[in-house]
Symmetry: C2
Subunit: 243 residues, 2 copies
Amino acid sequence: MSGTPTADRVTSAVRSIPMFRGLTARDQARIVELATVRDYPRGDFLWHEGDDAASLTLIIHGRVKVVRHAEAGDVILEIFGPGEPVGAIAVYNYMPYPASAVCLEPTSLLLLPRREYFEMLDRNPEFARAIIRELTRLMVGLVRKVQEMRGARIETRIAQLFLTLADRMGTETKDGIEIGLPLSRQEIAEMVGTTVETAIRIMSRWGREGVLITGQRRFVIPARERLTAIVEGTAATGDEDEA
Amino acid sequence: MSGTPTADRVTSAVRSIPMFRGLTARDQARIVELATVRDYPRGDFLWHEGDDAASLTLIIHGRVKVVRHAEAGDVILEIFGPGEPVGAIAVYNYMPYPASAVCLEPTSLLLLPRREYFEMLDRNPEFARAIIRELTRLMVGLVRKVQEMRGARIETRIAQLFLTLADRMGTETKDGIEIGLPLSRQEIAEMVGTTVETAIRIMSRWGREGVLITGQRRFVIPARERLTAIVEGTAATGDEDEA
DNA sequence: GGCCCGGTATGACGTGCGTCATACGCCGTG
DNA sequence: CACGGCGTATGACGCACGTCATACCGGGCC
């Protein structure tokens, strides 16, 4: 609205996104010209299931969860972070968004109108490849999810979840691996497909046992092996032997 | 091996595949030149999890299940039919196959070496679009699966499964909708994520109640509404009021 | 024929986890 | 301050489903 600072934000944003790295300076300039930046507070909906997908959405910073609404409770399909495109498939296929997107943190987005998006795609085969690679990544994640849902105990699934989160966005600290993500028990439940109560029971027990500590907007894993042991079935997870 | 008939099979196979429709006559000829046809009996593995993906595989006729092996039992991720590509993602990404593929029926395949596949991709942007669309279709299926796994009773999931199969490959007959697919109870169990016993219990009860009849290598749905009623929760599914 | 084997069927038993209910701490608001 | 709402926590109860065991049936093979 006020002139220069906005344009600066867009240029630096475009530069920060890996998908745009391979483009020519000319294409990048064109994107800067047509893209816009928007900010959202925690909890805001980027869009709702069924909304029309008019622009490609790329995350500059912050994290976004993608949620599918179902009669038997919601399901969190994926969490996206900086540099990643959200809902690219819907934009590509001219379809309404199949799921809602909600900010887990204060978030900034770069929006590129569909028209430009397609132009880029046709001109840059490697850009198309980036999309396919992204889709593949998502598929792998979903397959993992389907596989986990089958059979595995809930405690195992939650352990798996935090191991994955640790790999994707954990940082080493003196207390262990820290995951800086404000997830409520409700959200954890939605990610592994269970109820709040069950999630709470497991997480609070883990807190007591020191397997996983819940802090202010973050989690800490003191010892990774204890989680992997739970996943492997080498449990000894409290229930049985208690002094 | 004997000369001419093989070449004929390839040309007619290439013509039968929707993905190749949009290609120029020249490109099609090139594919005919380099692609090969192979036949498999029921039960044969096209490949195993972890095998190297050297060729793009397209189904000419027959059906193929894609199975992920897990400690807690296998999971059937998807069933592919005529005209569809199997394992396209693996070939595309130079990765080993993430899951095994097994024939449900006698099957014929068209194999196109990766090299050609990529050539086509770079030359035909609309070919790339076909791939992305295919990927999208798969993703939608997986999301549906994840969503179903969460919460829904097993009986509901199996009902859902057969409704989907009916839509995708059912034919109307005087007895009801017929699904011509030789699935064992074991395979049904693997598709919805449960054990053989549970699958058997539900299916045999349905047989008694006339909800779904198992025949020789096929299933018959006398009344679609009864299945949708189970999915909706408007059950009255035998358990309670009897006699 | 007798044998084995894979698919189907049915029962008995235990339990993980969903459901319902209750309670506590924290925060923003009137 | 009291009040209500939201997230977290914990107990009691029941049931759907997994597990284990047994049995029947048809087909292939010697």
